[in-house]
Symmetry: C2
Subunit: 201 residues, 2 copies
DNA sequence: ACCTGAACACCGTTCAAGT
DNA sequence: ACCTGAACACCGTTCAAGT
């Protein structure tokens, strides 16, 4: 006993815990079964297979990202604030990003913020296809940035990358030698992109 | 016989072929050994293990990306052209992007283009830390975009994503319903980012 | 220096059988 | 409707033994 009846939610919860603590590669059907105190095969009845289990995990997490309340006085400022919120929320689930990416669910990750972004782009005076393109540009930018950034974190040695070229610009060489300030680079990038996109020329 | 002596390069070549034809997940040590006509364990002598084999594959491919010759009259135009070249080269190796990413080698992918980018940013009048930041912003943008884009291609059903919200902008709703024109979105994004970054204000 | 087969410790998944 | 154990078809890797 001690196991009244296995539910799909229980499977998902336990799986989510395993992922949170040891990463997605540690989530094997057999370990999960052990954790749940059931036979491996029981899991299959509830979630189909490993792939759809991970899919479900990603979807649940993305759905839980919460609401997006922008701050700032101009639409551009508010877009930047939305980007920062989305980045922070995604980074709060360290494994989500890679998991969603590996499962082809990257796009899902920026859907929660889309509505809020549309509102700001509208406020800036863009409509129709032009507005949609601006929203998509920001979405690709934010999610792409977070993907690259997360990747750098778990990157290996981070070799100096044969910094042979001198560039005739010592300050630039020093800047490249320093580690990247990601928050700063992110804000600079999003601000630069947004400024151009929201210009009504 | 028929196998005079196994070399590291031969292992890498055959592995690269397997990946090109069937994707990285099809590259198992056992299949590779069968393809090579050797014992599985021989491979280990030459390349260490599966992980470093894939690392070597990524590095070799990235090193083969070739030179970057920008076109255009203004630095901004030339930066955009560099971004397009890099994107095209990366997309020419469909599995490279995901492989590099999964291995924490994402950063490697944009090193070949860095030197050329620095030149243009210098030509635009930026120096030092400011120039380095502009280069990095473009690099993150390009690689992030390609990551997101590649991911969308192998994405599942591409569910309409509960397009419940009406937005009060039918043209925008239609734009979101249409598939993304990625080349166009890419150029728009890079151009927008570059324009702001290269402004000397 | 290079190659081998056997063995270990894992996987995900299927399926017939149980209650 | 739900759970089980046994079995299948894979993996990557190690290691002692060969030449």
């Amino acid at each position: 006993m001690a196991r009244p009846s296995l539910t799909r939610d229980e499977v998902l919860d336990t799986a989510a815990n395993l992922v949170r603590q040891h990463g997605p590669e540690a989530l094997t059907m057999r370990k999960l079964a052990a954790e749940l105190g059931t036979a491996v095969t029981s899991i299959y009845w509830h979630v189909g297979n490993r792939e759809s289990l991970l899919d479900a995990l990603v979807q649940r997490t993305v759905a839980d990202l919460g609401e997006f309340r922008p701050v700032g006085r101009t639409p551009a400022e508010r877009v930047v604030s939305l980007a920062r919120i989305l980045r922070r929320r995604l980074r709060a689930h360290p494994h989500l990003i890679a998991m969603a990416h590996e499962r082809g669910l990257t796009e899902r990750m920026f859907l929660p913020a889309r509505e809020a972004l549309v509102r700001e782009v509208h406020a800036a005076g863009l409509r129709g296809a032009r507005a949609a393109e601006a929203v998509r540009a920001v979405q690709f930018q934010v999610v792409g940035f977070v993907l690259v950034e997360r990747n750098r974190e778990r990157a290996p040695v981070q070799q100096p990358a044969q910094e042979t070229t001198a560039y005739d610009d010592p300050a630039l060489a020093r800047a490249f030698a320093r580690p990247v300030n990601e928050e700063r680079l992110f804000v600079t990038s999003v601000r630069a992109l947004t400024r151009s996109l929201l210009e009504n020329d």
